[in-house]
Symmetry: C3
């Protein structure tokens, strides 16, 4: 009898535990999800109605959301966590006692949205903007609004020099005789290329009917859509798209912390951050061992959750060490930790004071003109618009604190010393190419009405936009030496200069 | 005493359960394998004899096979599954009551195989062809046989224009004086390059002896081997190689569904599907979260098994939603879901009606000749050979159904509208480059006896084969904006045109 | 009562087993770690003192080390394993009865280290060198010391021809008038680029104070630091850095066996081993299925631990088959298994006999000079310095043994036959480009005082350093056919030759 009881108990336990084991192999996120299944998920009545149809019509969206933290925690609960563990910052979060479902976001501040529409009895909008996310994530949105990302549309569209580059690159061309004539830039091409990353202006052109499963649904007819660019101008007038890095409808912190996210825009040949990371020692460790790391944990514990940095670790995540001491505060102003802007325009320069870089002006003595650039062609900086040497020093020391979690003080100092020398060397190489270009403009070999539309001018652009940037990004990430040498780096800087010389000489 | 019994039982259970847990961390495939260990695996006597030696001589092959579904399920059982879950389609599968081992495949239809040989008392062949796989996978093979993949050898080898391109690219060159003379194409180079992907012709040149572990074994002496190209001409006269995507000897559906497989051939700079996917939002999600997805499940459940598409999802897999409704039927005619062929020859064009594209002809008014191309140099389409606008519409709507699992109707409509505008823009840019090229041929600056062998001609080729394709692939995959702008996309289209102009002008 | 006891026991077991399950999902490494938790970890008193501070000041390093095998096994225990399972080879390992902690390495042979310094009562050094690792890993260090890696600094720095290439590539340039003048190479640029991979010379320039947490610490002031180049000249006079592939402070075999490690240096465009592997069939299988493989097990069991090779499998790891037979012995002379050196200098050539390649000389009849190269410009080999045909044959047969674990004898023979034809074809293409270059030097179109600093010369370099190498690497790895065709392969070899011709003709 006793044996029978034991057998039964054992069997029961075996079943229970096997089920438990099975769950264990799921991701951390899933584990929490399963744990929560026993709790109540307070879903609002409105969201339940959304789900009623959308579970059928857009099941992928719903499935993504169901796995998300939004579907499993109420803002009011989330706000009760200890400060370092919090994922919400807006005091208004405390008012939300349901999980964050369809209705909670798509009806927020709808009165400010030009894309508002009536949808089965609800007034909703299509595009949820950072101003809406601000309800629960106010600190993050506030930081973001100071960043160059938030101004990415204006910074490109309102800068006449950059517009010349845009036009030269993506305009339609036509050939007449043997001549290439520059035509117009198609709106569609703008949205597919530069403004795909920088963000479009979303406008409501009217309303249209769409049909799904026999149902007619009237929706706003948007222009500049779809787009998830970082500086998108939204129908409520706000700037930015949180979904650039936290893709719909999971809004995962894990994805945002993985370098694949940054790889969407920060790419070879102009901003090869991702390409260089891949070949760096840090990249090597991430790809080899990263599968077992915790990309969900808040705060992010260096040496425990992760063993080597990803982009997010150095540039924006809240980092602590294993003793719980803060190594770096979270910021969604992605330039806030940076002291030198590596991206040459046309030289690497001190980080701008504010994200709205289209307001920067510098006097250019060679062209005898004011240019909307952080540096003149002869490398004078627009210092009034750029951070001070003191601020540069402070930021560098803050960054070093992150590095020192794993590297000795001297190692870190020497790394940044090498890096600064490399910045100077590439700026000097750009300067020499620019001298050659100025010579060509002066001699009439090229025409400076558009600085970027002739073959020689395009070679010059590659010198700073591709090769100078490549060398600097590679240096910043402690490595990628072969990349820096031969892959659009020093090899091309030297070859290109000789190519430019051969053209100037022959003409 | 009771305590002792409990302790013993507990210990036993602990051991059992720990073992159980250990198994849980294995892949789904492994779990099923372990479950099946308790079943009988009916292995044929013939295959057992194969294994007797090959377990020792080629253990890696055997290990791969042992983990495969072929080693664990009999075709007869596999055929009993509900239709949507089936991985076999041939009625003849019901005749096979042993698992699919060495002998089952390598002796199939051996009488039709020129590569048949006697091997330790069995008549076997080296190359298992799609005609052999047809026994159990008849629907898939039937579909494949209509595809451009099946005709990949003929489409390249029998098209005189493409042959000019092949010859100009991979022929041996010799320098006489300061002149580059085009020589012959080496057979080996053909097989290493173009026909590595397109497929070789496998011929039996005789028999040869090989030695292994002191044993002499006589085997067919094959030409065009080894090769796994998609349009391989096999020793039984059939076309194709299932192993292009389902590598030997696991024949995994998981591998075929992962984008790394397509990456073997669909690569930058000419077909940058893989490169663009990596930098797209879908790629970002796959690389960040895909490790936990189910790449084995049939049918593939969108939103459950996977949260973002891989190549296979959009182009060939059987997809259902979580309600079990079919979103897309399985097809192994990889062009069947496509309406616009992005790969410019030289313009993007409506998808060919049939995979045997070498039969396509178009009248070219500028050259006053009939060309074996889907479009003339002046962009007239070979409409008789291409699908109709009606068929294009149907296919586009079918593709949209996949997108709409996760995206709203309007989002999807607008995406494809952008995409079509981009196709037109790139075709227009190709047209202008072609005008310049025609001018050069006309003026004797270049010689059109081979359209692709001079420096200027090669620049022209890059305009459509590299840059036009890049922009279109990037647009199709909803993103890769920076890639489309600078990485062999718009930047190069514009620069290259000016480069061509400078050459034409100087001559 | 009995029921209560059973319930309690069951509860206890449940808790224990759930904990056990949770551990199961961790990596193999972790499992062993957890298992060992019950053992004693004998940590030396000295290392405990190091940890006392560094756990606080460099927690990332300590965390890495705690997860490493060094922290969990004593050398004396490690030496007791059966020979094939051993990870240590130095008999002196038996003397070490504590785990390998901070002090054990950083105090080893400190009297030979110019970077020795007093640190809180201990005499330590900063840079642990291969000579120090030799204590426990003597066979591996001995092998490494014969390799080209160990001589990577000298081979570049002491070869006057390669130095010309280094100078032409990374020297500062200045523009005077319209002329590009070659200036000096900055020491910093050398260390960031070529010598980043090849290794720097680490020198002690004196001592300096660093500050951490309010503490002043005096440390050696190193030059050429930080650097993890494979041929680094260390402060004890030794060559090499084990940390190139086994990154600090985990020194993981897993990382070294994954291809991401090799990817730090063996990159497109000059040594595209990594790029080609990614697009090969082997790469496809690794990326699709590799997550479940065992990269820790020693010896490495083909077909069990891994199902497709990574770089380490073919080039250096100890491999056995499932029957425990050795397929390849471990070697840390990474050239030891190679018979043809694919890396063209300027032609692919038989593998050098010894790693110190800077001593190689060949008479060049075209330049009537002795060159420090493995082949003359007209393709005569420096045979005295290169392995014999017999040795080439032996090595090829040894490599084939690895392939034959998964491929048939005939398959493997034919693969290498294709490969050798491709090597010859690329060498022939290089020879023709060189003829054109010789013509240009002879005619005064280019100046041979530096062979690599003019635009035409740089095109010539790309012919062999980029395009020839790409085609050969792609061929060696059974595939990457599209890559070999268009991605810096045959397409560029042909285009570049025509580009060179157009320049020579126009001048």
């Amino acid at each position: 009898m006793v044996t029978k009881v034991i057998r039964l108990a054992a069997l029961l336990m075996a079943l229970l535990l096997l089920a438990g084991c099975a769950e264990k192999i799921e991701s951390t996120e899933k584990i929490e999800q399963n744990a929560s299944l026993e709790q109540e998920y307070p879903i609002s009545e409105e969201t339940k109605r959304c789900l009623g149809c959308h579970e059928k019509y857009t099941p992928g969206i719903v499935a993504d959301w169901r796995e998300s933290r939004h579907a499993r925690v109420t803002p009011a609960e989330a706000l009760k966590k200890p400060p370092l563990e919090r994922r919400v910052s807006g005091e208004r979060a405390s008012e939300y006692r349901n999980v964050v479902g369809c209705y909670e976001c798509h009806s927020l501040n709808v009165e400010k949205h030009a894309d508002a529409f009536q949808h089965f009895g609800f007034k909703l909008m299509v595009v949820v903007s950072p101003e809406d996310c601000r309800t629960c994530h106010s600190v993050e949105v506030e930081q973001y609004m100071r960043s160059t990302k938030a101004y990415a549309y204006d910074n490109l569209a309102k800068n006449p020099v950059y517009s010349q580059l845009v036009n030269a690159t993506i305009s339609m061309k036509r050939v007449e005789g043997a001549q290439v004539i520059t035509g117009e830039v198609e709106e569609n091409t703008r949205e597919e290329t530069c403004f795909g990353c920088h963000g479009t202006v979303i406008k409501v052109a009217g309303y249209k009917d769409v049909y799904r499963g026999g149902l007619r649904v009237t929706v706003p007819d948007l222009r500049g859509w779809p787009n998830q660019g970082v500086g998108r101008i939204n129908p409520d007038g706000s700037r930015g798209a949180c979904t650039s890095c936290h893709p719909r409808h999971g809004f995962s912190i894990e994805i945002a912390r993985k370098p694949y996210t940054c790889a969407q825009c920060h790419l070879k040949p102009d901003v090869p951050a991702w390409n260089v990371y891949k070949e760096s020692k840090h990249g090597n460790i991430f790809f080899s061992k990263g599968e077992g790391w915790d990309f969900e944990h808040v705060p992010w514990v260096l040496g425990k959750d992760i063993k080597a940095p990803t982009c997010a670790a150095c540039h924006n995540a809240l980092l602590v060490n294993e003793m719980g001491e803060v190594v770096a505060n979270r910021t969604h102003d992605f330039g806030e930790r940076i002291w030198i802007r590596l991206f040459g325009l046309i030289y690497a320069h001190p980080q701008p004071r504010h994200g709205a870089t289209y307001k920067i002006k510098v006097y250019d003595p060679t062209l005898n003109a004011e240019l909307p650039l952080p540096s003149s062609l002869s490398m004078e900086y627009a210092s009034d618009y750029l951070i001070s040497p003191q601020e540069m020093y402070i930021r560098k020391e803050n960054m070093k604190r992150i590095c020192k979690t794993c590297h000795s003080t001297d190692w870190v100092d020497k790394h940044f010393s090498k890096f600064e020398k490399t910045v100077n060397a590439t700026n000097a190489m750009t300067y020499e190419a620019t001298k050659l270009m100025l010579k060509a403009w002066e001699a009439g070999i090229a025409d400076d009405s558009n600085l970027f539309d002739e073959y020689l001018e395009k070679l010059w652009v590659e010198q700073w936009l591709f090769y100078g940037n490549t060398v600097r990004y590679a240096s910043a990430m402690t490595g990628a030496h072969d990349y820096q040498s031969f892959m659009l780096g020093w090899w091309d800087m030297s070859k290109n200069l000789k190519h430019m010389e051969s053209i100037v000489e022959n003409k």
